[in-house]
Symmetry: D2
Subunit: 260 residues, 4 copies
């Protein structure tokens, strides 16, 4: 019995008359005194952010909430339309689209940066580290994560703004610095600008906030939960699921192809 594997957590404990969150009393201590934004860093790391850090986290949480009538919210609206009894399913549908193709580059960029410059590494020569990153990607002929943008060749205004806030709030640290150097160096070699894009900026800032690279998508997932809820709310006020179906149907072509 002594050796049976324990189930250990340090996050929360629900007792009969109180709930502890990382050792603090939810009702007595946290509720009414902590903002949700503070709670984000507290839950994820055990640290209550400073006012400056909170402003940065707010920006990371807000930036990906709303993007208009895109595929993720279309999935939510359709799901709500056919399963209104389970709003949680409609929100989950929106989250499931948060995969590697767009948002994933936050994770990949953060991993790339932390692999090249581990959290416990002494401050090194960032230009040298940036060079190693660019060399490594060039050798494997893959695109560097977090830089370049199809539409915004000269700079994604959202990334520019995030870095501006990172500087104002003094969250801007060596990972942001490193990513900018990677961007400059890769652009020089490519002979065209390869500015940091919005998901790259999020990845670097997440690291400078002390998060592990796997949590780089955390802000987007929280933001997208809100975005999905807003679209479900609008779907309730002004249902569009059937018009969306009709829009697709209007361009539908049925062409039976040969067996594969």
């Amino acid at each position: 019995m002594a050796d049976e594997p324990k189930v250990v957590t340090g996050l929360g404990l629900a007792e009969l008359h109180r709930i502890l969150v990382r050792g603090r009393d939810l009702t007595e201590d946290l509720l009414g005194n902590i903002t949700f934004t503070e709670m984000v860093l507290f839950e994820l790391t055990g640290r209550i952010p400073t006012a400056n850090q909170s402003r940065m986290i707010d920006a990371l949480l807000v930036i990906l909430v709303e993007h208009g009538m895109v595929a993720s919210v279309v999935a939510s609206r359709s799901t709500y339309h056919t399963a209104p009894e389970a709003i949680q399913g409609a929100v989950a549908a929106a989250l499931l689209t948060a995969g590697s193709v767009h948002l994933g580059s936050s994770e990949y960029c953060a991993k790339m940066l932390v692999d090249a410059l581990p959290a416990d590494a002494k401050e090194g020569d960032l230009d040298k580290v940036a060079g190693e990153i660019v060399d490594k990607y060039a050798a494997s002929k893959t695109r560097v994560a977090g830089i370049g943008h199809r539409t915004h060749a000269e700079g994604d205004p959202r990334a520019v703004r995030l870095f501006q806030i990172a500087r104002e709030t003094e969250v801007f640290g060596r990972y942001c610095d490193l990513l900018l150097r990677v961007s400059t160096l890769a652009g020089d070699r490519a002979g065209r600008p390869l500015p940091v894009n919005v998901t790259g900026a999020i990845g670097a800032i997440a690291l400078d906030l002390g998060l592990p690279w796997q949590m780089a998508k955390a802000f987007a997932l929280i933001g997208r939960t809100l975005g999905a809820l807003a679209h479900i709310g609008e779907e309730i006020r002004n249902p569009m699921a059937q018009n969306i179906d009709a829009a697709i149907k209007a361009r539908l072509v049925y062409e039976v192809d040969a067996p594969q």
Copy 2:
């Protein structure tokens, strides 16, 4: 062509060089200036909350984030353990457990209140409305939503604290008032206390914030997204999925039953 059904939204529009959120420029106007908590009400209703309302919303967002090693985060941890490439799936798994049994009573309670006292109804005699609610449930022999608690017969401390904050922030309005009267009246008739529970309080406060009843679970879904992320983060630091499996296996009994 003129009559083709349009796909209308007022929430967001992604243009080439800017993103609009309910008519406002995301990068220029909102980012760096709006907190996530403000964004919640802005996305859901178009209104930027006052500081008082923000404090209330923070409490609603924070209260259901963390509950320890419960089924929803166990589902997230298992999902992450077998599908670490898709953290979004692990978060979605936690959301899918946000159904009718526990959290649903926020929705049902809010619907009950707004059905009895529509948003556009003049201020009425709240005791009379409360009586109608209690009569109606008694007639159908179903439990009134949002009151009573298995463990906290004398009052769920989380509900007490939420109403306290609702009063401090002056969000406390006629729906909170009505629910408290329903609770008192139903308790009087039952001959035992039937205090407002935490999901009931959330439902009433959501209505007093001007949200539709279907959005009463919105705060819990956002909070649970954060909670799932925190447990996934802890799972990465200190993997427990296999110990959880072992704990279940230790009590496993295989009993083949007769065909059904």
Copy 3:
């Protein structure tokens, strides 16, 4: 220790060198000898179906697999497009749309039938039971589940075909019989045909196969899993996610509305 709650299952047990399924050896006994269709009833009830029952189950599994470019597969395609690393998420997205609005009527119809005529009830006067059902719905002014169809006023050809197969396979039993009587009686009272629809037929046949009402959607969920996979496969061969986005965008109107 003696009183600790056990975790009991009679479905499966994975031992070191074999896997048991409802007491039978997976590799030695089932694999190669049992069809998936037989496995469906065996897993759900412990009974291996007869050839006739298998033909019926095949029809129930096949009937809802494919419906063209509808919302559920659009959600799958979008999810795959942005998260190709996690095909399981794209399939899950399709399942999440399997809610109350269309498919749910299988469950509701089956529940209605079994509430009126419990599984252990003696064979009664089915016309009398049908009359009680119709009266009950009339009293609560709700539509009877499983009958009537917007498009197929004179009979959903899928329901007709399912009942035909049910008769050929001798699965047709008292629940199918009862639902047809309900349909006739309700139509007579309404003065217009209210034929059994496809989800109603599925619900009645599921009961006549001995399944509990909650499993009436099981066939649809299995079928939809296949349908989603087929659409993901086609999306890989001939990507349409961006054209779907474009179709929606072509009809997009951005109209910022007043705060709610």
Copy 4:
């Protein structure tokens, strides 16, 4: 208008009075005449399988249905317990665990085989191709997908049985052959047996059935949908979700750790 992107599908079309599936009438032509197993290959490829191929596909569909009280079905049971109104969410939860760690090796193994020996490649020297695969993995110091097993060092009985059925049904082709050669060669070099495991066998057989590598998990996802439904059905008959919670709680340790 002429250039607007079309939304093309060859899978299904729902017309007013009939549904077409890959050009064939669902009600008139398929229903009652096609088994679900035949439908699997027909939907995925447009080909109706032979009786032999059907037997093989049945084995692939059945083999991963049931594994006892494992994490995926625990997630389903918990989800059903708290959200019984949405059985589709409980099934989706089980699918979300079908990620890279266990099942993924079907995909990776199939991709490895088809990358080394493209579908349109002439029959080559399979030993040479196997050598190239083993060399490539050795060079990158990663484990070859689809071979080796922690528990079954001398051969996973499920893989052995699948290959036996593949031979009996004459589905066994060059991809099965190639994987066995890879297994032998890698084992020789490692100095210990590295037998084909069950997910590897599934990947090779899927290719020999003519499926693309991305569909190698299709059988498991369909099977797991059934498995989840069976566990939900058992949860309804004999609820275990709370005992599962209790089993975890019995080993719970709350240890607040230092901030990260």
